[in-house]
Structures are given as structure tokens and as C-alpha cells.
């Protein structure tokens, strides 16, 4: 049975060790810090990702999926990273290398060191069920806290979105809605309550969000989205829009603006027992106009007065939208880009339709014919 020293020596003989300069010359390398959380908190090599040695095997393939590129592993002195390099070789990574002398030598040689932003103890406790997930971690939670997500509408779809985005710790939430809270809203618009009947929906939603999570900054726009104000609102730097609008003019206006600005839109719509969800992200997939080039004429639009909706349906659809928004904010998973998810609440069935970019799309196509905002007449009586 070898001693620790012998095992270390034997391992070092089997792996590749490089010094700081050699490591910096490795093109396309991912740097992985395998030290403990408390060591990382005191400083790390800029650009490195943190996977403590104890979780290396289980997390490395999620964080570093490409096995062909070099991986520079480092710890404090180059011992733990030597064992880590051997593990990565066993997992099929082509070129794992261990940084000789580790972080200590790196720092001693006058190289740059970064100090991590970390969650305060209160936030660590609040978001622990997020940070425990390898795909999110503390880094992902910090990303959410930095995110800016705009909700178009604080109604049926906007309600669950406002609540779950706030609970998730999305740092900045914007809400656009001109309406006031009405009794008939409470059947499904769970961000509002009897206490806020008669108040503007944006204020009511803000109140609920602030009671739920003080980490969230809420910006309210008590107005209806129009071609006049859309630029001013989007100029506030919203990175993702959750579309919970109830009418075609706004939906097309939003689509066109977001195509031109490259902002992803998480689309949702509901009718009676059926809902649809998709993500429109220009560059990666189609836009709403690729799906429906123009709104239906007034006489053929589904009559709003014949509408109605099962109260829980916007809950399901708005929550699916929120899931997509969080995935986009975190940069994880497979967003519903190019896919339209259809939920039939009565049948209890999900269907998925492939939707493709339309090269002749009037807005995002090769020869766009729409280059400024179109104000469609509102034909859906409110």
C-alpha cells in the first residue's frame, strides 16, 4: 500500500504539469479551481470556474462538456489538482493539466487574482435550493440577481411570472400594465388580492413582490404599450421579455421591437382550456411574425366576449413561461426556441409543433418589408 507521498508522486508522473506561463499558452483551455469554497472566496484566477474537488466527477461534464479542449486544474499547491487531472483523464478529457505550485505560486509570481462576488449569508440561506443545483450554483444565483426581466401584463400570465421570478431572486423586474385590479381578475390573477382591488395592477403586483422578496427591484410602467412608449420602456435595458399580452396589436409591436433589439421574448397565450408557449429569439430561431405574418382581420378574430379561461390555465402557462425566462437568464437547458408547446388542459396533453424561421418574414426575413412600428387597430373589445 503506497503512502500519500508515494501516491502523489506516482500520480504526478502520470499526468501533465505546467507552470503559470505554460498554462496561459494553452489555447481554448478552461480553468477549473478545485479548492474548497472558503479558499475560492479569498480569491481565484480570473476566468476560472469553481468545482470543489469533492464534486469534480459529478459536475465537470455539465460545466465543461467539451472533452477535446485543454482543462487547467489548480488547487492551492498543485497536489489536489494532480489527482483531479488524473480523474479527468479517466473521464475521457483529452488534455487535463495540473498547475504546478497551484494558486499559491500563481499569486506569488505576481499574476492577477480575482475576488469572487459571493452571496451574503442571508441570500445563501434564501436561495440554497437553487445554489444546490449544479447548473445554477452561487454563480447562477448571482446572475439571476443581476438579471432584468420585463413582464408585459400583470394579468393571468403575468401573475405567476411575477411571483416566481421574484421568488427566484431575479434582481430587476419591470411590469407594464395600464389596468386596475377588478374583482373578476381574482379568479386567476394571483399576484393581486382583495386588499388591492381598485388599485393599479402594477402597484398591486409591486406590493406583492416586495412582500415576497426585498432583493427584487420593481420598475412599474402604468401604461399600455404603444409605438409611442415602447422604445422608452425597452431603453431601460430589459434583457428578456415575458409576453403576457391580451391583444394582437401589442403582441406584434413587441415582436417587432424585440427583433430589432435582439431581445428574446417568452411567448404565452391561453384560451379557455388551451395554452401555448414558445421562445422567440432572433438569431437562434423564428419570431412571432414567422409563425403568423399578420394578425387576423377583425371579423375573423376570435371573439373576446366569447372567451373565458379556466383560472389555473394561465397559472400553468405563465409558470412554463417563467421557467423559460429563468433558463434564458441562466443560460442553461434547451429553451423552447423554434418549438411551440401546446397544452390541452382538458385532455391533459402536451403537443409540440416545430416552428421554423421564415426567410420571407416581413420583419426578421432576408428582405424585411416592415421596418417601423405598425399600429394595428385594436379589434378585440375590452
Amino acid at each position: 500500500m503506497p503512502s500519500y507521498r508515494e501516491l502523489l508522486q506516482q500520480t504526478k508522473a502520470e499526468i501533465e504539469e505546467v507552470d503559470g506561463r505554460g498554462a496561459q499558452e494553452l489555447e481554448g483551455a478552461t480553468w477549473v479551481d478545485v479548492r474548497r469554497q472558503d479558499e475560492w472566496d479569498e480569491g481565484y484566477i480570473p476566468g476560472a470556474i469553481h468545482i470543489p474537488r469533492g464534486s469534480l466527477e459529478s459536475r465537470i461534464e455539465t460545466r465543461v462538456p467539451d472533452h477535446s479542449k485543454p482543462v487547467v486544474l489548480y488547487c492551492a499547491s498543485g497536489e489536489r489538482s494532480a489527482f483531479a487531472a488524473k480523474t479527468l483523464a479517466e473521464l475521457g478529457y483529452d488534455r487535463p493539466v495540473s498547475l504546478a505550485g497551484g494558486f499559491t505560486d500563481w499569486k506569488r509570481n505576481g499574476n492577477e487574482v480575482a475576488l469572487p462576488r459571493t452571496l451574503s449569508p442571508e441570500k445563501r440561506a434564501r436561495y440554497s435550493r437553487h445554489t444546490l443545483i449544479p447548473e445554477i450554483g452561487e454563480e447562477g444565483q448571482l446572475r439571476l440577481l443581476d438579471s432584468k426581466i420585463l413582464l408585459l401584463g400583470a394579468g393571468g400570465l403575468g401573475s405567476p411570472a411575477a411571483l416566481y421570478l421574484a421568488a427566484a431572486g431575479v434582481g430587476h423586474i419591470g411590469i407594464v400594465d395600464a389596468d386596475i385590479v377588478d374583482e373578476s381578475n381574482l379568479q386567476r390573477q394571483i399576484v393581486h388580492s382583495l386588499n388591492t382591488l381598485g388599485s393599479p395592477k402594477v402597484d398591486s403586483a409591486k406590493r406583492t413582490i416586495e412582500a415576497l422578496n426585498p432583493d427584487v427591484q420593481v420598475t412599474t410602467y402604468r401604461e399600455r404599450l404603444t409605438s409611442e412608449n415602447i422604445d422608452e420602456i425597452l431603453d431601460d435595458g430589459w434583457e428578456i421579455v415575458v409576453d403576457g399580452t391580451d391583444n394582437f396589436p401589442t403582441r406584434y409591436l413587441l415582436n417587432d421591437a424585440c427583433v430589432w433589439r435582439g431581445i428574446p421574448v417568452v411567448y404565452g397565450s391561453i384560451y379557455r382550456f388551451e395554452g401555448q408557449v414558445s421562445v422567440f429569439k432572433v438569431g437562434d430561431g423564428p419570431c412571432y411574425r414567422c409563425l403568423f405574418p399578420a394578425p387576423p382581420p377583425p371579423e375573423l378574430a376570435p371573439s373576446c366576449s366569447e372567451g373565458g379561461v379556466l383560472g389555473v390555465l394561465p397559472g400553468v402557462v405563465g409558470t412554463l413561461q417563467t421557467n423559460e425566462a429563468l433558463k434564458l437568464a441562466l443560460g442553461i437547458g434547451e429553451p423552447l426556441i423554434g418549438r411551440l408547446l401546446i397544452y390541452d388542459a382538458l385532455a391533459g396533453e402536451f403537443d409540440e409543433m416545430r416552428i421554423k424561421r421564415n426567410p420571407d418574414c416581413p420583419v426578421c426575413g432576408e428582405h424585411p418589408t416592415i421596418t417601423e412600428y405598425v399600429d394595428y387597430v385594436e379589434f378585440c373589445a375590452r
Partner: protein, 94 residues
């Protein structure tokens, strides 16, 4: 014979049916057959020469606009989905 799934917003035109049957080897034949059987449903989807721009027709999950349009083949037993644009959000009482 293919199964045509009718979305909730068009069910009244189909007498409340969630799905109807139609025959045709291409999308055009199928829509013409559908228009013959259920004129008011057919009219919402197909104007006699084109699919209406606010309705999408999917055959086995593929949008026919990008897979041959009205000439796109429809296999026996295919599932056809009609998908009109939906206004969204809170339709009724805003």
C-alpha cells in the same frame, strides 16, 4: 383519411368537435374536402386558394408553409393540426 385536430377557438365552427376527419393526399385536397364537409370551419382556414395568413397548418408536426405548402403530401392516417393565432392573456374581462 386523416384526423384534423380542431383548436378551441375554432370548435364552434366544427359543431364543438375536438377533431374531425378529412380526406386528401395533399394539403390542398384535404382542405377542400374539409371545406366541403364543414364550410364554416374550412372558410376560417382556407380561402379557396391559400391558407389564411393567421392560421398555420401542421401535418405530423411540420408546418406545411415550410414543407411544400398546399402541395405538401398528407399520408394516410396523418395528424393535421390547425393553429390560428391566439390573442392570449386575459381574453375575457380586461
Amino acid at each position: 383519411m386523416s384526423v384534423v385536430r380542431v383548436p378551441p377557438v375554432l370548435r364552434e365552427e366544427a359543431g364543438g368537435a375536438r377533431q374531425v376527419e378529412a380526406t386528401g393526399a395533399t394539403v390542398r385536397e384535404l382542405l377542400e374536402d374539409l371545406s366541403g364537409r364543414m364550410p364554416s370551419l374550412g372558410e376560417k382556414v382556407y380561402d379557396g386558394s391559400e391558407i389564411r395568413p393567421y392560421v398555420n397548418v401542421y401535418v405530423d408536426g411540420e408546418d406545411v408553409r415550410t414543407s411544400g405548402g398546399l402541395d405538401a403530401p398528407v399520408r394516410e392516417g396523418a395528424t393535421v393540426v390547425l393553429l390560428p393565432a391566439m390573442a392570449g392573456g386575459t381574453l375575457l374581462d380586461r
